[in-house]
Symmetry: C2
Subunit: 486 residues, 2 copies
């Protein structure tokens, strides 16, 4: 008897969507996978490796690194998950402050509860609170109808790239180095990444000349450039844009007709310079110069509950504000949101607390703001310690950090390391990071995953790991690798 069958397309990867194959996402790539294997090995046989723990400095995941969640957020979420606690007033009042109970009631009444789908754009009450937060932050109006609540910041990026890339010759200007979600999404939607380079020597600053050079170069190659991404404060660079720089950038966007995507998820992670939003500068320009066509500049501003002092990555909450978007395009953004049905409602509730924290006089006010301050100071301390450790290392040069959760030092590898890597078909910084992981348990990422100039090498590391003990291992491990290849 002959068995009748036909092989399906999975048999032949080349028949699958090659955009997926082209996408690279270093943050969750081979180093992260190997770190998990080593962690499992440590659990099984604790003595089998030359270190006792894995330090995940590869991804901005604060709670995994021991950062404590903010009490008020978790109290409200616990009550929303289990509203029977609210009804049990006598016991509940011992465990929960009255403002947490009131907030939970308010959120539950506004929705069908945390287990019901919300509207696709997000819970209206939360969107009103986001708009008020933006108004207070910037001093300019914000419209709740222009707010979309999102599943982290990731969904916002995906939706915008999906809408903007219609043909293989459509492109978006991306900073180099950049957070690889952007290059991965561009690859996935089949668009062209047009790189503009940040200037490392001046703390990874953005220059309009470089933006224009990149725009002209892309255009000359036949790329239709539709948007430009800024990550401010910077991932992986830790840089921070001032008001003048943003004004210049918006001028570039206006002259060239490119949409601005401002990834501002680290807006609360700033250390010396104040954070200035793109929305504020655009609003000011529109107000001050009503005849200068600033209303022709479309802006997508992105924020998240995963970063800042909250660090609630696993809850997948965020929002985007869309400014100067014509109705026909707005409808398509709404449709994309609706096909994702709705963001997690718990994440939406956390957005509400992010933008409307306990007020002065509320029972939770002092604790909430003390916790925010403690986390902020702790992160800054870790940042300084890591920066000082990196600066003490041979062959390493690190810019002053100003924000975000990362340092992105340059490494000047010995020639032998570069040759060894090339012989293995690996990037030199990949080889370095893998050797560091295998010898110390510290997982950092190669600059090649974030983009860098040819023949330059960097590493990206978070400063979320606590204590100084691991830094000793880091410095020793680094020096050992360097000595091996000197």
């Amino acid at each position: 008897m002959t068995v009748v069958y036909k092989l399906n397309v999975f048999k032949d990867p080349e028949q699958l969507n090659q955009n997926v194959f082209a996408a690279q996402y270093a943050v969750r790539g081979p180093l992260a996978v190997r770190a998990e294997e080593l962690r499992a090995q440590l659990k099984e046989k604790p003595d089998s490796l030359p270190f006792t723990e894995i330090i995940n400095a590869n991804i901005g995941n604060p709670h995994q690194m021991g950062q404590i969640p903010l009490t008020f957020i978790r109290q409200v979420l616990a009550l929303c998950q289990y509203p029977a606690l609210i009804e049990n007033a006598e016991i509940t009042q011992k465990l929960f402050p009255s403002d947490a109970i009131a907030r939970a009631k308010e959120l539950l009444e506004e929705t069908g509860g945390i287990g019901a789908y919300s509207s696709s754009q997000g819970v209206p009450l939360v969107r009103r609170d986001v708009a008020r937060f933006i108004e207070e932050r910037d001093g300019f109006p914000s419209d709740p109808n222009h707010i979309f609540l999102t599943t982290g910041a990731t969904q916002a990026v995906r939706m915008m790239i999906n809408l903007l890339i219609a043909r293989p010759y459509h492109g978006i200007l991306l900073p180099i180095p950049q957070y690889p979600l952007y290059t991965a999404s561009m690859a996935l939607y089949g668009g062209r990444t047009v790189p503009y380079y940040l200037n490392e020597e001046t703390n990874w600053s953005v220059s309009v000349e470089e933006l224009q050079r990149a725009y002209d170069a892309g255009t000359a190659e036949g790329t239709e450039i539709r948007a430009v991404v800024f990550i401010n404060p910077g991932n992986p660079t830790g840089s921070c844009l001032n008001e003048k720089a943003i004004e210049d950038i918006l001028g570039f966007a206006k002259r060239n007709g490119v949409i601005v995507i401002a990834d501002e998820v680290y807006q609360a992670n700033v250390y010396d310079l104040p954070f200035v939003s793109f929305k504020k500068v655009l609003s000011r320009l529109q107000t001050e110069n009503p005849n200068d066509a600033w209303d022709k500049v479309s802006l997508i501003s992105i924020h998240s509950v995963s970063k800042g002092q909250l660090g609630e990555c696993g809850q997948r909450g965020g929002y985007m504000e869309v400014t100067n978007i014509p109705e026909a395009a707005f409808k398509q953004i709404y449709k994309l949101a609706s096909i994702d049905v709705c963001p997690p409602v718990a994440g939406q509730f956390i957005v509400d607390i992010l933008v409307r924290p306990p007020k002065l006089g509320d029972p939770s006010h002092d604790l909430y703001h003390k916790q925010i301050k403690d986390v902020h100071e702790q992160l800054f301390k870790q940042c300084r310690q890591l920066h000082s450790a990196l600066s003490s290392m041979k062959y390493v040069k690190c810019q002053e950090p100003r924000g975000a959760m990362y340092l992105h030092p340059r490494i000047f590898f010995p020639k032998k390391l570069i040759e060894t890597a090339k012989a293995q078909g690996a990037e030199p910084d990949e080889l370095y990071c893998m050797e560091l992981l295998e010898s110390t348990g510290i997982c950092i990422l190669p600059g090649s995953g974030f983009g860098q100039k040819e023949n330059e090498f960097h590493i990206r590391t978070t400063f979320l790991a606590q204590g100084e003990e691991y830094l000793k291992h880091y410095v020793a491990g680094h020096n050992k690798i360097m000595e091996k290849y000197e």
Copy 2:
């Protein structure tokens, strides 16, 4: 002075991704939007409309319709959100049963807490529990490494269509009628929907002859058909496949080399026939006939916490199991998951409880299973009541419901209604649904959003609304519309 500016692509919708424009998602379309407007109007001016409440029978959103969340789930989630409760043992033991406390501890220890990113494929403990659940359900092995935890079922569908559609002539066989997430996603990724029709007269059954006809017709038109979707139990049809039907379908898939996507989110919503999974039948065929190439059939099985008796839609939890997928393709699925970073951790925890409910002898066992039984019986009762109301209506014919949360009756509209709709540029069933909404506040959806044969008309309604009062308004409102056009 000349103001220098250039308009960006938002100015001209035709320059945006036309796949987004082509996507249609009726479940969240104009009727849902209008229902929200009317709800707001009722809140503002309660007497301004001929009804006192909006009945959302347009979307399977159980908690919004008053279904109560399962206590054990919410207890575990509350403890995971606010672990300080666990430490406060004396009070906590009064409020939470010991098995809820133990489960919360277990989940927290396995992860970095509910606020940390998990691995992109999902928390390993939860994946092991899912695999054990599948083994017990089917009597065949399941591998935790073949499980992906997902953001609802939606992410699973999006990832698979993204990977499978590489060219505009690639297609997927979709049932008609279908849940419009599928046609919307196909439009979004630029693939061809190849329709196969369910047979309404035999309770919306699937026939292999019809599948083959659709496959051959699609192929003849130059479409390369890569996969076939089954929604079982059916949305919007409420139908249910038996073991023999699934075996025949898998034979069709094997002969034609198409990947099977089995959307089984309603597997716990069955009323007379038992649920049989595609995975079980495929495993049995592979075991019984080791030489018959059943291992060449690739299967993607999808489940969710949004449906069943949990109804936790807003928490966005789900999983997919991938069977007989070669390593190279598996890696790309993993990469797509990693670009989404991770599903909401709270949703993953709920998946854990879905697949590992309290055991006999555990303190929460009796309540959990009583609640499951109550919800199940309540839904069945509502289903019967709605079916009986529909059957009493003029011009309506409704199949016997067997599962899911929907009824999908056919309506034989008077000629005048059809002509009026066409004159307005609307589908007749759209006009009917809009008139019903405006006159009764009941929001149901036109069959045209789900697909139907030419010159046939249907409506889709959930049976989640409680009580019989609304059914009287429904019958009266229906009859009034029909009399108007008779």
